[in-house]
């Protein structure tokens, strides 16, 4: 039917489509449970949103529905060396979210009060204190809130490291293996790949990121997913001076300095086409992000930008992902559409998927992420974020 001759057949407990951080973490945890796993990824592991993002390991500023998951994922971040053999350059530098006007500062205060109920302690800082403790900040900053145990890590390492760990315990991870068809086959799923691989599985996990909507649609539950693209830049190495991961209210710029000294920053949208599988940064977006970065950290004046990049990510209209069981098909589990802020969550998403497959339920509250929220809504693109404190770009 698809024109691809089947050259290899596999029969497994779980088929995973999409080798980003969520899929690779799921493969590791499912395999550790003793299930047989085949993961299919159309490119290299972590080569889209999971690998090209900002690298923020951030709980602060998240939608309250995501906070319990982010709290749990932060615990996983703390034990990455035991779990996957590397800390992925995770630095718990603290995440400083900055206000550039009084309204933003008031919003930060409200958020801090509410976040405390989820156990996330945020430290409010007025103008004097934020500047005393961060002398590199620009004059336009009037205050901020600090999440002391947030930080940043190297996104290029995280997914390959999870993939390596999953392979080490026997998960079958297939790279450069695009899935062309997913369907129900009696009580099982059948997944066909362009390489001639056909996988028969009891459970199907959809961690296909920007392409997750295609799989959902194949099982009669289409969602209004959009292709989005981060717009990232990096400077030459500079002496270390930016001591925190930094974001702002509104999310139009975010930056961090890595151990080598390069300042990684971003803000705004690049260009991407998920059907062509192409993405690239935009010169205009880059110029604006640079201007805003200079406003936050004036010492970056004249620093050389050595590279910029983008990648492909799925964005949902309400800015939170789809996580949980399918509403149409038993044993189908979705986890996609992280809307630009799945990096910190990724490690725990694999654990949640494993709980769903293994026990039928997760210990984390997933109600807000149910795919059913889009039923009957033909075009939900204009549904506003449930939480006004939500940053626009939270990579």
């Amino acid at each position: 039917m698809t024109g691809h001759a089947v050259t290899e057949r596999l029969r497994v407990d779980v088929a995973i489509v999409g080798g980003g951080i969520a899929g690779c973490s799921a493969a590791l945890h499912l395999r550790r449970r003793g299930l047989s796993v085949c993961l299919m990824e159309k490119g290299a592991l972590g080569s889209q949103a999971s690998g090209v993002n900002f690298g923020g390991v951030r709980q602060q500023g998240r939608h309250f529905a995501e906070l319990p998951l982010a709290r749990r994922s932060r615990e996983v971040w703390g034990r990455l060396p035991e779990l996957i053999g590397t800390d992925c350059e995770f630095i718990p530098s603290g995440h400083l979210k900055l206000a550039r006007n009084e309204e933003d500062l008031a919003a930060l205060e409200r958020y801090a009060a509410d976040a405390a109920e989820f156990g996330l302690e945020l430290e409010m800082m007025g103008r004097k204190r934020v500047h005393d403790e961060h002398r590199w900040l620009g004059e336009n900053v009037i205050g901020g809130s600090l999440a002391a145990d947030d930080g940043h890590a190297n996104p290029r390492l995280l997914t390959p490291a999870f993939g390596r760990a999953a392979r080490a315990v026997g998960a079958d991870l297939r790279e450069f293996t695009p899935v062309v068809e997913t369907e129900r086959d009696g009580a099982r799923f059948r997944v066909r790949c362009a390489t001639g691989l056909e996988v028969s599985a009891t459970s199907l996990v959809n961690t296909a990121g920007a392409w997750g909507g295609e799989i959902a649609a194949a099982f009669d539950e289409p969602v209004p997913i959009e292709t989005i693209a981060p717009n990232m830049l990096v400077t030459e190495p500079l002496p270390s001076f930016i001591t925190r991961a930094v974001g702002v209210c509104g999310g139009d710029v975010y930056l961090r300095q890595v151990a080598r000294g390069n300042v990684v920053f971003g803000g705004g949208d690049g260009w991407a086409d998920s059907s062509l599988e192409r993405s690239r940064p935009s010169s205009e977006t880059s110029a604006r992000a640079i201007e805003r970065a200079l406003g936050l950290v004036p010492a970056l004046q004249s620093a050389l930008v050595i590279r910029s990049w983008s990648g492909i990510e799925g964005g949902m209209p309400d800015d939170i992902p789809v996580i949980g069981f399918s509403s149409t098909t038993p044993n189908l589990i979705h986890a996609f559409g992280f809307s630009g802020h799945g990096f910190q969550l990724g490690p725990v998403i694999g654990i949640i998927i494993d709980e769903l497959v293994g026990t039928g339920a997760s210990t984390s509250p997933l109600g807000a992420f149910d795919i059913g929220r889009f039923h009957g809504a033909a075009d939900l693109r204009h549904v506003s974020a449930a939480n006004p404190e939500q940053e626009g770009a939270k990579r």
């Binding site: 080598r260 205009e284 110029a287 640079i290 200079l294 004046q301 620093a303 050389l304 050595i306």
Partner: protein, 453 residues
């Protein structure tokens, strides 16, 4: 139909001849060039304050250089010539440029990429010591600044440029301690037949080589470089010839292993690349008209494969004529046929050069503590560890994991050696490990970026 907007990047032999051919057919172009004066690397013009006849600067090529300089001088008033301008990105029919801190987007329908070549470098122990220069850099110091790179210089590597630069230094009165060619004399003898397809060029090469002897300069062929020694600066070059370890004291080294095409713009605009087994590099594909796989994007000169200055002039004119024909201008078919015949002959000569001066196989022979990627200070051993730890088989994954090629040169300097190392470590062909994808800006750009207030 209105004439298309044509942009040319690079005012070397190819770019200037393309602009001239277009102009002859009543087509104007925007000619963007990084240098303050036209001529490219090979016919680089000195600053105004420098005097002296062209013959002392360009030797046998003085006539060609002067003719090209005259052409760009004449064209400057007829076309939109933009010197001292960096083209740092291209996308969707738009070239992002920077000139004296000011940014401008050049919109085009047709683009000619004539970005030329740079030195092909191979790392060896000590190659990042102060006092080590690329051969091209050593030549620029002489041509553009009238100075030598050291008091006692060693030239090391391979390729025609090795002998040309040594000859130019000797002629200028600089003291040369040794010329060390990694390729043996018999490689050149075997290539003689192909090289004889351009007898005048061959004769010049033989002359340069012979005149080093008359200046009393030691030329050793078939050497294996072991390293450049020194603490804060170059002190000595160690090498092996046969089974004998040798060294030569010096305070500067000119290092180079032929040339590589500057292909970043072709990459960003989306040209398809092929692996060229002869020169062992990835090159953008072009047809006989010089058009790439992207419609309306043409490639001229060394930027699409090393051919030398004469071929670059011909390719420039050829591309200009192709575009004129595309725009419905009358064109001279016999001129096109003549250019194509000459290009074919030069291609035979080029094949001979590749045989005479093949790029030495590096594989994974370098000691683990040798710096491979100098922008990011990454050593050979670290890269090997990364390859093993993550089962890396492809260049971009290697970059992501090891940071090689992530720095300010984006792998232009270390990319080839990194590919050789990966291929050797994973027992793959060089072509199979792929090539590094480029990202804008193709050269580092200071903050704020042009175009912002």
């Amino acid at each position: 139909m209105a004439d298309p907007a044509i942009a040319i990047v690079g005012a070397g032999p190819a770019g200037i001849r393309a602009a001239e051919a277009l102009s002859r057919h009543g087509l104007s172009a925007i000619l963007v060039d990084e240098a303050p004066k036209g001529g490219g690397q090979i016919y680089r013009q000195p600053p105004d304050s420098f005097q002296g006849p062209a013959s002392s600067r360009y030797g046998f090529e003085a006539r060609k250089a002067s003719a090209l300089h005259l052409t760009i001088k004449r064209l400057a008033t007829a076309i939109d010539y933009r010197p001292s301008t960096l083209a740092w990105n291209v996308c969707d029919g738009r070239l992002d440029t920077l000139c004296a801190g000011r940014g401008e987007s050049v919109v085009f329908d047709i683009l000619v990429i004539a970005t030329g070549a740079m030195d092909r470098m191979l790392p060896l122990p000590g190659w990042t010591l102060p006092g080590v220069y690329a051969l091209g850099g050593a030549q620029i110091a002489l041509k553009y600044q009238g100075c030598a790179i050291g008091q006692n210089t060693v030239f090391l590597g391979t390729g025609p440029l090795l002998y040309l630069v040594a000859y130019q230094y000797a002629k200028a009165g600089a003291k040369i301690e040794a010329v060390l060619d990694v390729n043996p004399a018999h490689a050149k003898r075997r290539a003689l037949f192909a090289l004889a397809s351009s007898p005048r060029t061959l004769a010049k090469g033989i002359y340069y080589r012979a005149s080093l002897g008359t200046h009393g300069i030691a030329v050793e062929e078939g050497v294996t470089p072991m390293g450049i020694a020194g603490t804060d600066e170059v002190r000595e070059v160690h090498y092996r010839r046969g089974s004998v370890d040798k060294s030569v004291r010096c305070d500067a080294v000119g290092l180079g292993f032929g040339l590589k095409s500057e292909t970043q713009l072709a990459d960003l605009v989306g040209c398809r690349f092929r692996f060229d087994g002869e020169s062992r590099q990835w090159l953008p594909e072009r047809n006989s008209d010089g058009e790439s796989t992207v419609s309306g994007v043409y490639l001229a000169g060394d930027g699409a494969g090393i051919g030398g200055a004469d071929a670059a002039e011909l390719w420039g004119e050829r591309v200009g004529l192709s575009i004129a024909a595309r725009c419905g201008r009358r064109h001279d078919a016999s001129r096109i046929a003549k250019i194509d015949r000459r290009l074919a002959r030069l291609a035979r000569f080029r094949a001979g050069l590749e045989r005479a001066f093949p790029l030495p196989l590096l594989g994974s022979t370098l000691p683990d503590d040798t710096i491979l990627c100098r922008c990011e200070s990454i050593r050979v051993g670290q890269v090997k560890d990364a390859i093993r730890a993550f089962d890396v088989v492809e260049m971009n994954r290697m970059k992501a994991i090891s940071r090689v090629g992530m720095g300010r040169c984006q792998g232009r300097m270390c990319g080839h050696a990194a590919a050789e190392l990966l291929a050797a470590e994973t027992r793959q062909d060089l072509a199979a490990v792929g090539r590094l994808r480029g990202q804008p800006p193709i050269k580092p750009l200071p903050m704020p970026w042009p175009g912002t207030p």
